[in-house]
């Protein structure tokens, strides 16, 4: 019986060998694939197994971690002033993943980033619990608070930038949400998430970066910049050759001016009272290509990475003459994010130099060593210094004599420039218009702040009263004041 016994022994050996081969297959060959599988909860378990690092504003964390004693996800994210900071931080939820800074800098915050390898190795030997690094933002708590409080229960967004550097100082969006409310994965978190998802007012939408609006009259500064840059206008106080009423090219429709005194108004005068006809004609005179070129130098038609991605603002590259004329006053297909308008303002306030907007100042390891320091970076020069100064002169005129009076800070040594906008939208402009305001403050040392404010459909305000000057300018003023106060 020994011969079949030996054969059976070989068979048993083959069974064991098959198991060994199979084991190598799943644990060696397929290990990475299985480990990275989206159904594998170990990734999220690992993400919340240790205390997450914090996002920091003005040296103080605006996020926190709480030990929930939960058997699956140990630490839960908490947020201080969640609704106010949500457009900056994004959220980190055990059930719904993460977004914005929480997602982009997840590696640093969880401590898994390769740049933290040394810290990890060190804590392995010292036996310390692994901790995440910190993300230090460029934001200013005071400016953010002014922006958020200014918006109040109105729907809208505020972006404030330091023109010299491109540092984002405020990034507010209302209505907002509290990321703490769905940071866990319980039934309560699910309810909060579903409620937010179904909310008609879209509180989760980051209006400051991801929503594009028709800019209306605030776009006129871009048209003015294009007119000056192209040499169509050299003297801002010289009358332009604008008929009243002005007929839109390729159309029989006359351009409606809400303002009076627009016939042959000078560029300065036209911006002060916001003449549609003058800017539509200028846009047509400059031509589509030059308009597109100028708009794109300001950042239109491209996504911005702050590093949180913004939506791309639009200046139509294929419009006909009529469309181009309408686009030039911020209507037709022109659409912009609040961030984009803040960039335009910042570039003008910074004498024509557009700095790349960013909101992460530096990344720190758990023991506060700097891992990465972001430096200001020039993005483009949309206008010459000379043009920029002319634009500043005109915008300051808007605040001191025109529609932007409510933004005047009345501070010694501080000049304020601005532009109002009331953007019509909807079918036949039936919906309540958007109120825009862009402005900057400037001292002898250059400009510390440029702001763009948009207030959407503001319930409770008479349609006639909706104007950039009335609704949005006070918010911009409050933000600029907050920034200037922290500077002095």
């Amino acid at each position: 019986m020994n011969k079949p016994l030996r054969r059976v022994a070989i068979f048993c050996g083959l069974l064991v060998l098959a198991l060994l081969l199979r084991d190598n297959w799943i644990q060696y060959v397929r290990a990475d694939e299985l480990n990275a599988h989206p159904k594998n909860r170990r990734v999220t378990i690992e993400r919340y197994a240790n205390e997450r690092g914090n996002i920091i504003v003005d040296g103080k964390p605006i996020t926190g971690s709480v030990d929930s004693q939960d058997p699956y996800y140990r630490f839960k994210r908490t947020y201080f002033d969640g609704p106010m900071w949500a457009p900056v931080t994004g959220y980190a939820s055990q059930a719904y993943d993460a977004n914005q800074i929480e997602k982009i800098e997840d590696g640093i915050l969880t401590g898994n980033d390769d740049r933290l390898f040394f810290d990890r190795t060190l804590s392995m030997f010292t036996g310390d619990k692994r901790k995440g690094g910190n993300v230090v933002t460029t934001l200013s708590g005071a400016a953010q608070k002014a922006a958020f409080d200014g918006l109040g229960d109105k729907t809208g967004a505020v972006v404030a930038i330091e023109p010299k550097t491109g540092k984002i100082l405020a990034l507010a969006s209302t209505p907002s949400y509290d990321p703490s409310s769905f940071a866990g994965y319980s039934a309560k978190d699910e309810k909060a998430w579903i409620a937010l998802e179904n909310d008609k007012n879209k509180p989760k939408q980051n209006r400051a970066l991801r929503e594009i609006y028709p800019p209306g009259s605030v776009f006129k500064v871009v048209t003015a910049a294009a007119a000056l840059e192209s040499g169509k206008v050299t003297d801002i106080d010289a009358p332009t050759d604008t008929p009243e009423p002005y007929k839109i090219p390729l159309s029989t429709k006359p351009m409606i001016n809400h303002a009076s005194g627009c016939e042959n108004a000078s560029l300065n005068q036209a911006l002060e009272v916001s003449c549609n006809s003058v800017f539509a004609k200028l846009g047509d005179d400059v031509g589509r290509d030059k308009m597109v070129e100028t708009a794109e130098k300001f950042g239109f038609n491209a996504e911005q990475f702050t590093p949180v991605r913004s939506a791309a603002s639009v200046y139509d590259k294929k419009s006909d003459r009529g469309g181009n004329a309408l686009s030039s006053i911020g209507q037709f297909n022109t659409a912009t994010t609040p961030l984009q308008m803040a960039m335009v303002t910042a570039a003008i306030a910074n004498d024509g130099k557009l700095m790349k907007p960013y909101m992460i100042d530096k990344l720190e390891s758990p023991n506060v060593d700097v891992i990465k320091q972001n430096e200001p970076e020039e993005m483009s020069r949309p206008v010459s210094a000379e043009t920029a100064q002319k634009l500043q002169q005109m915008m300051e005129n808007v605040v001191s004599n025109g529609t932007g009076g409510k933004a005047d800070l009345n501070m010694d040594g501080v000049k304020v420039g601005g532009k109002t906008g009331t953007a019509q939208h909807g079918e036949k402009n039936a919906k309540r218009p958007y109120a825009w305001f862009i402005s900057y403050a400037k001292t002898d040392q250059g400009s510390p702040v440029a702001v763009a404010v948009i207030v959407e459909d503001s319930a409770g305000t008479d349609r006639e009263d909706i104007s950039g000057g009335g609704l949005a300018a006070p918010i911009a003023k409050a933000v600029m004041k907050a920034v200037l106060k922290t500077r002095s």
Partner: protein
């Protein structure tokens, strides 16, 4: 002329008993799990676990008692079997204890009771069983007498779970019986008793089966009346599968029978027929029984099946479980996460019984799994070696049957868990939580040790014959 009864003139050479080798190996088999226990405690709580001393002493005591009994009652037994079983059992206890510490498993069940203490108790009973086998069974050939009683006993055991009131339907498989609050899995014991029956039956019938056959298409086919038993066993195993939802056990018994038949008759035709029959059976059952169908779907592509299976269905549950197990193995990688630091408890249900091998995979990694597979391989190898060394056909067949069944069980469980073959609900010998399994497997090791002792025992010294003279050694 006087009748010469014994002409041996050379005294028996004492074969080395290897008991000290066994003792040294046993020391490792106790120390390694104790370190593993310490490792788990340090990883989970950061301090030396309170139960370590008790656990170490307990395991040491069991190993010591088993060793002393072997030393006294089976002095020539194979020295590897006992340490291998002790090591696997000890590691199993550590793994079960480790899963007991999982806050997820604790929070999942409203009334959570740790399984490790009861497994410790079962292990003690199992070692008592092992000792009992060695004490009672002085010679394995005694078992031959119980051939037909064994057959009846095995069938009764197998059919018990079908008795209303006695059988307990647990999670879809009717393989448990419930007596006085204890659940017993009779299939585990039936495995050994059936091996006894097969050995006894085949030893008697082997010549008829091997020789009285007709040649047909190059194969030797046996006569119909000799073919009867294999058909009966095949039918019984299918019945068990159909009525008890137990694919693993039927495969195990059938495989064991074919192996033993092949060894007894030395006819390849049995193997071919066995393979054909099991393939046919598998195809029929796989395409009709829904429960098997979902296992097959979960085996073919668990991730895909998870997407297509209707939510909340059995199939979705089977596929989800399979994906969890595979991800457990995948997360382990080459060296594993380390004992106590994995997330294999995500598997949920049956993490410490049917799927305990996934915990090995995740926490000890590829290296650990290969070590465990090789440990099992070594037990099988020692079993086959025992069969080769056995002097009597009954012992050969029994040793081969038991180690073949052991090999098949390891293959079916580990292969199922690793997705090599469709999953069947069987226990990993010694590792998995479960009293029946650990007791039956210790009994199995006991019988193998008894056979190997008989096989390696030197022939009894001949009685001195007064008629024979010692040969004179002539020195040059």
């Amino acid at each position: 002329m006087s009748v010469v009864t014994n002409t041996t003139t050379i005294g028996a050479i004492e074969a080395p008993s290897r008991r000290n080798t066994e003792l040294a190996l046993l020391a490792f088999a106790v120390v390694i799990p104790v370190f593993a226990y310490l490792n788990v405690g340090l990883a989970i709580d950061g301090k030396v676990p309170a139960g370590m001393l008790g656990y170490g002493l307990g395991l040491g005591l069991l190993a010591g008692v088993a060793h002393l009994v072997v030393r006294k009652f089976a002095p020539y037994a194979d020295p590897l079997l006992l340490p291998l079983a002790t090591l696997l059992n000890g590691m199993g206890l550590v793994l079960i204890w480790r899963l007991d510490q999982s806050p997820r498993i604790i929070s999942r069940y409203k009334t959570f009771t740790p399984d490790a203490p009861s497994q410790m108790l079962y292990s003690a009973i199992a070692v008592a069983m092992f000792v009992g086998v060695l004490l009672v069974l002085k010679d394995h050939r005694v078992l031959q007498r119980y051939t037909y009683i064994s057959m009846v006993a095995a069938l009764v055991l197998l059919l018990l779970p079908l008795v209303p009131g006695l059988g307990a339907d647990v999670f879809g498989a009717k393989i448990w019986i419930s007596v006085a609050g204890f659940s017993i899995q009779p299939g585990e014991f039936a495995k050994i008793i059936l091996a006894v029956f097969f050995s006894g039956y085949l030893m008697v019938k082997r010549d008829a089966l091997a020789l009285a056959s007709r040649r047909f298409m190059g194969l030797y086919l046996p006569r119909g009346r000799d073919l009867g038993p294999i058909l009966t066993i095949w039918a019984v195993s299918l019945l068990i599968l159909v009525f008890e939802n137990d694919l693993g056990t039927s495969l195990l018994f059938f495989g064991m029978f074919v192996i033993m038949l092949y060894v007894a008759t030395e006819r390849t035709s049995w193997v071919v027929m066995g393979l054909l029959m099991s393939t046919a059976g598998a195809v029929v059952v796989g395409s009709t029984a829904g429960h098997v169908k979902s296992r097959v779907a979960a085996w073919l592509d668990p991730f895909e099946c998870l997407k297509t299976a209707p939510e909340g269905s059995n199939m979705a549950a089977a596929c989800d479980q399979m994906t969890q197990v595979l991800m457990s193995f995948g997360s382990g990688g080459i060296l594993g996460t380390g004992l106590g630091q994995g997330n294999s408890d995500l598997i949920g249900f049956a993490a410490n019984s049917d799927f305990i091998f996934a915990t090995v995979g995740e926490e000890l990694g590829l290296a650990g799994v290969m070590v465990f597979l090789l440990l099992y391989g070594l037990i099988i190898e020692r079993g086959v070696r025992t069969a080769l060394a056995a002097r009597d056909p009954f012992g050969k067949l029994l040793a081969m049957g038991l180690s073949g069944a052991f090999a098949l069980q390891v293959f079916v469980v580990a292969g199922g868990v690793m997705g090599l073959i469709p999953l069947t609900g069987m226990t990993m010998p010694f590792l998995a939580y479960g009293g029946s399994s650990v007791i039956a497997n210790w009994a199995l090791i006991g019988i193998l040790i008894r056979i190997s002792d008989t096989a390696r025992r030197p022939a009894p010294a001949p009685a001195p014959s007064p008629d024979a003279e010692m040969t004179q050694v002539v020195r040059p």
